[in-house]
Amino acid sequence: MNQLIIGALLLLVLALPPVRHLLESIMIVHMHMQMPLLVVAGFLTAKYMQEKLPGFFKKWNRNGLPGILLFVIIMVYWTLPRTMDEALTVPAVEIFKYVSLPFLAGVPLRDSWKKLSVSGKNTVFTGFTMLFFGMGWLYIKSPEQLCNNYLLVEQLTLGWGFVTMAVCMVVYLVYKALVDPSEYE
């Protein structure tokens, strides 16, 4: 219940016009802060939904694969430059962002993550690392403005944001590969 309240409050605060304008005024903050926070809001509400609708999740997300697939599709969709532009100019797309990221990405992520095998988790992690390097490369290398709403330097910043995050993920993957927790736990 606590998590539901925190999640709902977070979603509400993120939807407040001044907060929305501030976070959307900087390209990297739009994609790397507002969007993940929306996912977190959904992630927090997921527990309540799991308790209320156990049958639904059991039926549609037995092994976690459908859920994680939905999560990946939504996340990949929102890494595209065009979707950000549309969110800023088309109100319906903005609403879709506020619905899809919490409820079609955050909720299935929570329901799926524990159901996935270790190799499944590593695949998702590696996939996102590669995606982040790729997106970083795209945003850094593109000589053109990819979003009408943001300047070229902001695009470059977003590119480096992707690359640094990917580097962090590589550090984590290397740590996972080299350190055997059973030696310590």
């Binding site: 470059l156 910043t157 944001g161 310590y184």
Partner: protein
Amino acid sequence: MSTPLQALKKKTNEALGIRPEDAVLSKSYLLVAFAALLIGGILGLLQGLNRAGLLDLPHWFNYYQVLTAHGLLLVLVLTAFFTIGYFYAALSHTLGGLLPKVRKLAWVGFGLKMAGFVLAVIPILMNKATVLYTFYPPMAASPVFYFGLVFIVLGVWMCAFGCFIQVANWRKQNKGKHVPILAYFATGVFVLLFFGSIPVTIEVFMIIPWSLGWVETINVMVARTLFWAFGHTLVNIWYLTAVSAWYVVVPKVIGGRRFSDTLTRVVIFLLVIMNIPGGFHHQIIDPGIAESVKFLHVFMSLAIGLPSLMTAYAMFSVFEKTAKKKGGKGVFGWFKKLPWGDVRFLAPMMAMIAFIPGGAGGIVQSTNQLNQVVHNTMWIVGHFHLTVGMSVVLTFFGISYWLVPYLSKRVLTPKLNKLGVIQTIIWSAGMGLMAIAMHWVGLLGSPRRTSYTTYFDNATALGWDPYLLFLAVGGTLLMIGVILQVYAVVHLMFFAPKGETEFPIAEEEEDAAKTPYWTERWGRIIFVMLLVIAMGYVIPMVEFIVNAPPGSPPFKTW
């Protein structure tokens, strides 16, 4: 499970006290720390007297040279050597003695740091490195100064690796157990020391070719940002070291128990995760960072206040609980039941009390609009004398009254305890006077880092004089405090009566909830920390580099 050998080591450690080899290591670190306090203190007095207009410094040892040396000795040498000496004693005590290779690493680190300091101090004495302790461009020192800094960083890394090896080894032999709390604090501190010193290393490697004349210009904003990523982290390293004594040692000294173990560990890793991007609040007036980005950084900086408030709550809860068990009554009446006559309590308690206005002043400074009023004024100097000079250093002093005798197998006599109490009172009065005067005169516009001047008898500048006089009074009291403290440390190390002193570590409450195991997963904590650093630095750094100005040649302003 712990092996029989480990259990035996732990028992011998408890029965016989610290191993002589480990004691020598920690004592050496502490001796250097307090020697730095003595020299740095004398330099501080000279500055105070100069700022009050009472003393003209000679041209061969000017105000800015004194300022550079005072800063370097106290904020780098004193704090770093004390922190390492203290945590290595804690690692030795709680993890069954240092491993031979760890001890060797710490000694190599000691040698590297000493060599580095000698290299850094020579150009300062020759007036070739009067760049103040925040050594960022465009002021350029002699390259030798920067070579010295490289050695210091390498020395710190040796100690960090030593700590990681020691803790990893303990965990392998005590599978599934929580690392003892002080070793957990040490891990947090050394993680911060290691990752926090990476940016300053990059900065120094940018500066070296520039100061040698191999490149003509340097990107000042990038260098400043890298400096503060380290500088602010260093601040919280001191703070975390002091906090470790508040959570673990002080409750034992007053005869109580520790506050929640989970909360303590959460405070530690929150400070580790959120710390490094906090450096931006030192640059809140800097150009080149968009207003909205600054706003986000203010939010991030203030987030560090959260674990501090958790700490404040925890400490006063422990005090109240313990005092009420001893018969204390009323809303505030229980205060009387606290052992005010025990320096091991009094000194850290004064430190904590100082942190209340110190922390509030910090919030003022990280608020954009308020910072514009106090930026680069004496207010800032007052702030860090209150936080570092009181909250951190008084805690260190309090620690020294049991740590030094513990290491030298001597005891704290009632007479020396009394001396410690007097020292604490003198220090608090001196630093209080000085810090309040500095804050006040800062609000009236008196700039920091400026030798005494009346600006051609300008009325406003003359109006600062009465306040500046308090700097001299406070500084003189502090000098007496320094002498008493150094005397106490030397006495406890070499002359006090022989005996056994306990390493005070408070136990958890009997009905304490079990600490969840995820708090031990440092891999994840460091991953999140790196992500937060990336979040904080990518935006301004790209801006500084992509839209870089032509760059600055080296300046020698002195």
